[in-house]
């Protein structure tokens, strides 16, 4: 069991895994809901179960490999991947927040997927495949997030708990309202996750390169504050520029 001190260390990891996984699970849920509503729950669930089986197989095969890498090399590789992933998300979230690119619309995605499923009414396996693909692709991102935020300091279990909690939360709300979760502030979540993952990325990359961070783990707060301040400033600047170009 994790004691109180370990919980303090694990909290940012759990939070990062929970928030990032929430975004991914919401996206997968929209597609599975479209399949279930339009073509019935049998192909929808078949796709989900098959995708979860493939994901479990991938984790079972690749998971043990993580222990074979020296910790510092693993931190460097994971750190760089986190920088690429986190900064990519942050960039898109700032552009969406600044009105440069359109916001992710779960209702529109649901309608688009439903229309595609209506067109292919004769083949049930296509519906199952849509469900399988959505869960597999979003699930792969969840697996990466769990490994990325958890493996650098042996916190895979707390990271997996964060991701699992996100699955339970999204599926519970989805089961109750039985509609696409369009009111989830997806861009705000992506903004926050971009900030957190970029901060983790700098931290792990630095650890992998042998950099000594003042304040150790607490320096993550400084990184997150700076990324957040920059992101908000850029989004505000883009919104002002957008308003000026309209007038």
């Amino acid at each position: 069991m994790l004691n109180l001190i370990q919980w303090n260390v694990a909290a940012p990891t759990i939070l990062a895994a929970f928030l990032a996984s929430t975004v991914e699970v919401v996206e997968a849920f929209t597609i599975v809901l479209a399949v279930g509503t339009i073509r019935g729950w049998r192909p929808a669930w078949s796709g989900v179960v098959a995708a979860l089986a493939v994901l479990a197989l991938i984790v079972a095969l690749l998971g043990p490999l993580l222990n074979r890498f020296p910790l510092q090399d693993l931190q460097l590789v994971i750190g760089v991947l986190l920088l690429l992933f986190g900064m990519g998300w942050l960039r898109k979230a700032i552009l969406r927040s600044g009105g440069v690119i359109a916001l992710h619309d779960e209702m529109a995605i649901f309608a688009q997927e439903a229309a595609a499923l209506e067109r292919n009414r004769s083949q049930n396996w296509i519906a199952g495949l849509a469900s399988f693909k959505a869960v597999l692709l979003e699930g792969l991102e969840v697996v990466f997030i769990v490994i990325a935020v958890g493996s650098g300091r042996g916190l895979l279990l707390p990271a997996a708990m964060g991701a699992f909690a996100a699955c339970i939360a999204v599926l519970s709300v989805g089961f109750i309202i039985h509609k696409p979760l369009s009111r989830v502030p997806e861009n705000t979540l992506k903004f926050a996750v971009g900030v957190i993952l970029s901060s983790f990325g700098i931290f792990w990359t630095g650890e992998g390169l042998g950099i000594t961070w003042p304040g150790q783990d607490a320096v993550l707060l400084v990184f997150a504050t700076l990324f957040l301040a920059l992101g908000l400033a850029l989004a505000g600047k883009l919104r002002r520029a957008s308003r000026q170009s309209l007038t």
């Binding site: 760089v80 991947l81 920088l83 690429l84 992933f85 900064m87 990519g88 942050l90 960039r91 700032i94 552009l95 600044g98 440069v100 690119i101 495949l129 399988f132 693909k133 597999l136 692709l137 792969l140 991102e141 990466f144 970029s198 990325g201 700098i202 990359t205 630095g206 390169l209 042998g210 950099i211 000594t212 961070w213 003042p214 990184f223 700076l226 990324f227 920059l230 992101g231 850029l234 883009l238 520029a241 170009s245």
Partner: protein, 86 residues
Amino acid sequence: MKILREVVAELFSMFAGDAQLTIEVIALVILVALICAWGIFGSTMPGVLLLLGCLAIVAEAVVGEAQRREHERSQTFHKWEGEGKD
């Protein structure tokens, strides 16, 4: 086979969706690694460089993309305006 291709494409886009950002981040990490290896700036300064470099890359990626889209939008508008006059 198509699914496998889509999975690979998705994984690729997770980390290299923006080619310029990817190249800049990798170049920055290599530079910081070299500075660490030389050991001339101590063990904290390379960290400051890594942090400032990442912040600069995000700012440049956002501003660059916004300018590119604005340029495209104004070109489309001028083209549309020109067609309207003909």
